[in-house]
């Protein structure tokens, strides 16, 4: 099969819609287009039935007790905002302290920052050099004012899978609510809200080959019953937790995407892990000074975050424009700061600037992996020929020994 360019290897950012998902969604645009809140006619009943089915499918997949624990949202950013701000507001009489980590998604971090401005206190626990959060650090941060702990299932940059079960055991024992931003790991690594004692979980469809614009927040209804203050006022949809007409085709697509994972997820993870390792091995065999970011084993199957020492990430991405990836380099953002995730893990800034994130997914092939490996090897070699730092390295000069002028 001929390769299609650019080759998509940015599946942490988003994934293409699976055609089976699209097929499941289509009738809900034109035939069963009813408003799920319409109680007076069949259009509404059909839409409502489809939504309730979807709720049950998603709840079952994360081992929730009931579909009633699923609140549909517009996506993970909204779910994170609703979980953190909704809990903080409801439980403010109980305490004002929240614990999260420095490597969370901005939707979590910026929700916490907003709450700090409103008088809440937030502790940001650091991850280790391998991207792992130590549950003991979470436990040590808990005070009698702590109302919520929020830790992600898997990191979006380095793919490190966090010890959610261990953290959940601590929060349950200490009587603190536990929110998990499960967006990146959901479907790709086991996630079980019952066994892991998760009280709230953010999910989204577009990272699992479903449509954009639809997500969910799991909200535990018993032991403990979690209460939220809604952040969106209106018709009182979703048991008052999130007003707004439901995105029925999106919700149907979300559930279809989940049911595909239920059938194929385990085998798929194995296949993608194989492709990921093939890419890593091919690159490592040909290039020196390439470093893996994140934990070597506790990592999403499709994640490969590498720092190519002495080569700047955006410069490299420009050279490998046949492949769609992303970089922790400053140059990819307007901020001119390299990835806050890599820096908070304690990575040298030079290595953060040199990082490329490959995100493999369902539709990548062995042929693509082999092509990308050769492309990357060739271009890194070329750029190192252009790099004064690589020349110094070869001459045995330690670039850290040089007094650089920051600019």
């Amino acid at each position: 099969m001929a390769l299609k360019f650019p080759i998509y290897m940015d599946n942490h950012a988003t994934t293409p819609l699976d055609k089976r998902v699209l097929e499941a969604m289509l009738p809900y645009f034109t035939q069963d287009f009813g408003n799920a809140a319409s109680r007076t006619h069949a259009y509404g009943w059909h839409a409502e039935a489809a939504v309730e089915d979807a709720r049950d499918t998603i709840a079952d997949y994360i081992a929730a007790e009931s579909g009633k624990e699923i609140v549909f949202t517009s996506g993970a950013t909204e779910s994170d905002n609703l979980a953190i701000k909704g809990v903080a507001e409801y439980y403010k009489g109980k305490g004002n302290h929240i614990i999260t980590t420095t490597i969370e998604h901005k939707a979590v971090l910026d929700s916490c920052k907003r709450l700090e401005k409103e008088g809440y206190t937030v502790t940001y626990v650091s991850a280790g050099r391998d991207g792992l959060v130590n549950p003991a650090d979470i436990e040590a941060a808990i005070t009698d004012k702590t109302i919520l702990v929020s830790v992600m299932l898997a990191n979006n940059e380095v793919g490190t899978i966090q010890p959610i079960g261990e953290i959940g055991a601590i929060t349950r024992k200490r009587g603190v609510l536990f929110h998990c931003d499960a967006v990146q790991g959901f479907g790709k690594t086991p996630f079980d809200v019952s066994r892991m004692n998760v009280d709230l979980a953010s999910l989204t469809a577009h990272k699992i080959y479903g449509p954009k614009g639809v997500g969910a927040l799991y909200v535990r209804r018993s032991k403990p019953r979690v209460r939220l203050v809604a952040q969106m006022d209106g018709g009182g949809h979703e048991r008052g937790n999130r007003s707004g007409t439901l995105n029925v085709p999106g919700i149907v697509g979300f559930a279809k995407a989940v049911s595909i994972f239920k059938q194929e997820g385990v085998a798929e993870a194995e296949r993608i892990r194989g492709l990921r390792d093939r890419l890593h091995n091919a690159i490592s065999k040909e290039l020196d000074s390439v470093f893996l970011n994140g934990h070597p084993e506790k990592r999403l199957p499709g994640n490969l975050n590498l720092s190519f020492s002495f080569v700047e990430g955006e410069g490299l991405m420009m050279a490998i424009k046949d492949v769609a990836v992303s970089s922790g380099s400053a140059c990819t953002s307007a901020s001119l700061e390299p990835s806050y995730v890599l820096r908070s893990m304690g990575l040298d800034e030079e290595l953060a600037h040199s990082s490329i994130r490959f995100g493999l997914g369902r539709f990548n092939t062995e042929e693509e992996v082999d092509y990308v490996a050769q492309l990357v090897i060739g271009k890194v070699k070329r750029l190192r020929e252009l790099s004064p730092l690589y020349e110094m390295h070869q001459q045995g000069i330690d670039i850290k020994s040089i007094q650089w002028a920051a600019h």
């Binding site: 700047e312 140059c331 001119l336 390299p338 030079e350 252009l386 004064p388 002028a405 600019h407």
Partner: protein, 148 residues
């Protein structure tokens, strides 16, 4: 981000990549930027006794705009005398390559690299003249300045 054809050409076919002997008295070396900032440029010039830049070489760690800016800088300064070369402004580089606003700092770095290489050459020459003219050599001229 869409880049100009000129920028892409300099990035894909960089001119004057390489290294000159930094200990050669006719060579000036400028090393600017910092790895932690994601940009390091090393620009070197070989200057004739008449003060004309006969050769220029660069190596750059950085994004495509940084590589293209330094490549263009070496192309422009070759054949110029050092005072003309020192007059090259970052805005001229930015304009030639149509750098987007977030990449203007790459052209600033290229201008600094040119100036730094010329200063290094001048410092070496001054030291040599002093050595020729006096019994004692000044001690402040040995290394390439790293400045911004």
């Amino acid at each position: 981000m869409a880049y100009s054809d000129k920028l892409l050409d300099h990035y894909e076919n960089p001119r004057n990549v390489g290294t000159l002997d930094k200990d050669d008295p006719s060579v000036g070396t400028g090393l600017v930027g910092a790895p932690a900032c994601g940009d390091v440029m090393r620009l070197q010039i070989r200057v004739s006794p008449e003060g004309v830049i006969e050769d220029a070489r660069f190596k750059t760690f950085g994004c495509g705009s940084a590589i293209a800016s330094s490549s263009l800088a070496t192309e422009w300064i070759k054949g110029k005398n050092i005072d003309e070369a020192a007059g090259i402004k970052n805005s001229q580089i930015a304009e030639e390559l149509s750098l987007p606003p977030v990449k203007i700092h790459c052209s600033v770095l290229a201008e600094d690299a040119i100036k730094s290489a010329i200063e290094d050459y001048k410092a070496k020459r001054a030291a040599r003249l002093a050595l020729d003219g006096a019994a004692e050599a000044p001690t402040n001229s040995a290394s390439a300045p790293i400045s911004l």
